[in-house]
Amino acid sequence: MAHSFATRALIGSSAERMKPKTLVGVGGALLAAGSLWGLTFAPAEIFMGDVYRIFYIHVPTAWIGLLMLTAAFICALSYLLKGDLKWDDRLEATMEAGVVLSALLTIQGSIWAKPTWGVWWNWDPRLTTTAILVFAFAGILALRTSLKEPRRRAMVSAVATIVAAADVPLVYFSVRFWNSLHQIQSSPETVSAAFVWPLRVNAIAVLILMMGLISIRTETIARLREAGSEPPPLDVPQPTGANQ
């Protein structure tokens, strides 16, 4: 079953029995609850006041977006090692989710920047590396649409994904590598206890929601691929004297 990939990889066998639609429902409900918690019951931050409430949706989006693109990198490596087109289906599904989350992350950050930095956009290292990330992976998805032959598409995507994935750690560590307007990475250790629980709830919610959606998407991609023409076998290099 294609949906078992995301569940098995991310939260283990107990959730493997859960249907993807159930994951989407649970994730959506948890996200609504966590967001409501952050918007109403969580206290305002001492300097940023109520604007800080953006944090509860911005940071989970960032974490899971980068996780999805890391998963796409693993799928790319797995395809190159195993040559199984199922890894290409998974690559497309995880990359698509990663691009959606990264683009949303950029919009959320831009809106948060206006009241705190005074500008919608700044060519700060964190923002610049994130913009490169969005365009690089969106470019790979666009490239895939122009390649009809499944094995060629899988090979080109896998190589391009591995190259683009070099930007994922750059995004994460950009606030430490360079002088940045952006604060350092948020984690339960760097966040006040009063703000941690809505953050955790929303992070788990986005993860569950995306696992469900990726599972459904992987099945759709696999179904369409299998319904199309059967891919030709892998090009095996022939010995030089084979035709003589």
Binding site: V24, G28, L31, S35, L39, I46, F47, M48, G49, D50, V51, R53, I54, I57, H58, T61, A97, V100, A103, L104, I107, Q108, I111, W112, K114, P115, T116, L209, L213, I216, R217, E219, T220, R223, L224, A227
Partner: protein
């Protein structure tokens, strides 16, 4: 030195507090856009799944 400067200026410089007041419009905008993107993406995934199922069913029949 600061005291001399204050005397020369005639009044104490007003240091900005660094606190942001208000800003709910930004918070609401972010949550509405996020809900639209998450909801829209989920809808798109389900829609493409249904379309692919019916297309394959039609091809087989």
């Amino acid at each position: 030195m600061n005291r001399i400067l204050i005397l020369l200026q005639g009044s104490a410089p007003v240091a900005p507090s660094g606190e942001i007041v208000g800003g709910w419009e930004y918070v609401i905008a972010v949550y509405i856009i996020s809900a639209l993107v998450y909801g829209g993406y989920a809808y798109s995934v389900f829609r493409r799944d249904n379309v692919s199922r019916s297309a394959i069913k039609e091809t087989k029949s």
